[in-house]
């Protein structure tokens, strides 16, 4: 994604040439006016960027090297926070849990969403059917956590009763063996429709002649899916994968609300651990250090993924 963006940024030469052709009365005066106009247009967004993105980024890096509990002034510690986190089993444990969540969640969502999208492509569904599938994506995760908490209520939850009646028990938020699985199921449920619709939109871009040609060659539909559809929607697939990965590593609301701010260790994801360090124990410095670790991990994963998927090249062109 990022490479395509940067390449587009670079494509300004012809436009620049155009502009100077149009500018007739005193180009330097107009050029200056243009700079001022740019400044005026950029000012609000730039203000927001500097105060709430750039400045906190610098501050976050500084905090990560300090002991800071909000009440004292940050005291410089050097790399101590990073040494501490390297030796903190809870950091690695929550990273492992988050990674398992992300991989399993994304794998299931992708497979199901690809299938669903392929079916949508065949059936040419009406808009309202598709928008129904979008519903969970539009709803706050807090509400989703509550709804599923109720469906799986150990005593009278509709779903847990249903499961019990077919002989499955133990599907409860507080069963350590099932907890992460439950969070994954809820997350799959809430992300499936959205992902399927994104992939479906990608499939609409595949020219129909390719399918006709494949059909003439006697290819089965399964074969068409794997040989035509899948390779040609690779850019969308890559984009969805990267976005899902970044999103999955930030899972928080489901866990925090699902467990009433008291999750069992089996579901303590990295975001929750950072939140806990910062806002329960007021270790802002240590929390910032873990957050930096997360930034690095996500950055590395994104780069690797983009490389592997060769996302900026489409076979369509």
């Amino acid at each position: 994604m990022s490479r395509t963006m940067l390449e587009r940024t670079g494509s300004r030469a012809p436009r620049g040439a155009n502009d100077s052709r149009v500018v007739s009365p005193g180009p330097s005066r107009l050029r200056r006016a243009e700079k001022w106009a740019a400044l005026v247009l950029l000012l609000p967004a730039l203000l927001g960027f500097v105060v709430f993105y750039l400045y906190p980024t610098v501050r976050g890096v500084w905090y990560s090297m300090t002991d800071f509990n909000l009440l004292n002034d940050p005291t410089f510690l050097g790399m101590a926070n990073f040494e501490e986190l390297a030796a903190d089993p809870q950091v690695w444990d929550s990273l492992r849990i988050t990674a398992v969540f992300a991989v399993v969640n994304i794998a299931i969502v992708m497979v199901l969403a690809l299938g669903l999208a392929a079916f949508m492509q065949r059936l040419n569904l009406r808009n309202w059917v598709r928008s129904l599938l979008l519903l969970p994506w539009l709803v706050p995760n807090v509400a989703i956590a509550l709804i599923w908490g109720w469906l799986l209520d150990a005593n009278v939850g509709y779903l847990s009763q249903l499961l019990k009646s077919v002989g499955i028990s133990g599907v409860s938020f507080y069963n350590g063996d099932a907890a992460l699985g439950i969070i994954i199921v809820i997350s799959v449920w809430s992300g499936l429709g959205y992902t399927a619709l994104l992939l479906y939109a990608g499939m609409l871009q595949v020219p129909n002649e390719l399918y006709e040609a494949a059909a003439l060659d006697g290819a089965s539909e399964t074969r068409m899916f794997f040989r035509v559809t899948l390779p040609l929607i690779r850019p969308v697939l890559a984009l969805v994968l990267v976005v899902s990965l970044i999103g999955s590593f930030q899972v928080f609301d489901l866990v925090q609300v699902g467990y009433g701010n008291n999750p069992i260790p089996e579901v303590r994801v990295i975001y929750y651990y950072i939140y806990q360090q910062a806002f329960s124990f007021y270790n802002m410095g240590y929390a910032s250090a873990i957050a930096i670790l997360l930034v690095v991990i996500l950055g590395a994963l994104t780069v690797v993924q983009m490389r592997l998927m060769r996302a900026n090249r489409s076979d369509l062109s």
Partner: protein
């Protein structure tokens, strides 16, 4: 859309696979909608009937009392009688807070980003590409990394638990919106703007009078997406605005659940609250579902 699928449809129309596809889509739709149905059904159930009618698809004597008590419209005695804790909960206020929070950010952020996007797409100024690259890098940073210092900043400015402090970090800036709208401005034909330029219309005038009206569609789409995103937002309002006066709906639901006893949660009240948070989204889906789907088609098709 029709052209892309027409050929496939022709070739598969009479195959049994088509029936199977319908069944699978039907299962997906039912699985998607049922939890929401169950939420509404529970919200309409008197607390006393909750356990005896646990697997009944529709309550025998549906009631609105759960909505009344979470909206603060029922007296304390009525609430306690209906299974509440009697603690004051005022979802009307939280809903208004959510509307202010999501609405103001959606409108102001999108316009502020549209102006910046236009400058990046059409105007020449020193450092343009470097600046754009830096802003795009902001897309990669997980929210919690800037959330911690932003929290400290709001605390220093004494803006915690104020509406201003709550909206400030997202009010003016979103890297994604700038990226999205810049792409759109780049795709607009330049000739109208060039003609206006020859007539002596300055850069600001061209943005305000030409580019902005021409991009009403994408700007509305961005506002809609931001509105939904901010409506769902939880972590920042939780840490920066969890006072009675600034609490938004999502945070209120979380607090409500944490106040509710763990052994016997107030499920009917919780489901009534959850329904209130889903209702506006449902309205958006009914009235703007087509636009939402199209905006997805746009971002997925790019």
């Amino acid at each position: 859309m029709t052209t892309a699928t027409a050929g496939i449809r022709k070739s598969v129309r009479f195959r049994p696979g088509r029936t199977a596809a319908w069944i699978i889509i039907a299962i997906a739709v039912i699985a998607t909608v049922f939890p929401f149905y169950w939420m509404v059904r529970t919200a309409l159930t008197p607390t006393a009937d909750l356990v005896p009618q646990a697997s009944q698809l529709w309550p025998s004597s549906p009631t609105l009392i759960n909505f009344q008590r979470v909206l603060g419209l029922a007296s304390i005695e009525e609430s306690v009688a209906a299974g509440g804790t009697g603690a004051s909960i005022d979802f009307i206020r939280y809903t208004i807070n959510s509307v202010i929070y999501a609405g103001s950010i959606a409108v102001i952020q999108t316009l502020s980003c549209a102006a910046a996007a236009y400058a990046f797409a059409r105007l020449r100024f020193p450092g343009r590409n470097v600046l754009f690259g830096v802003i795009l890098a902001g897309l990669m940073i997980p929210g919690i990394f800037t959330l911690l210092p932003n929290f400290a900043l709001m605390r220093e400015l004494d803006l915690l638990n104020t509406m201003l402090g709550l909206v400030a970090p997202a009010l003016l800036m979103s890297p994604f919106t700038i990226f999205f709208l810049r792409q759109f401005f780049l795709s607009l034909p330049r000739d109208v703007e060039e003609a206006a330029m020859l007539d002596g219309v300055g850069s600001l005038g061209r943005f305000w009078r030409i580019a902005l009206p021409l991009s009403r569609g994408p700007i509305a789409t961005m506002m809609l997406i931001t509105l939904v995103g901010m409506w769902k937002d939880y972590l920042w309002p939780l840490v920066a605005g969890n006072s009675e006066l600034t609490r938004v709906l999502t945070v209120a639901l979380g607090v409500f659940q944490q106040q509710s006893p763990n052994t016997a949660p107030d499920w009917t009240g919780l489901m009534a609250g959850a329904t209130l948070s889903v209702l506006p989204v449902l309205l958006i889906l009914v009235f703007l579902g087509k636009q939402l789907i199209q905006s997805l088609n746009f971002s997925g098709g790019k």
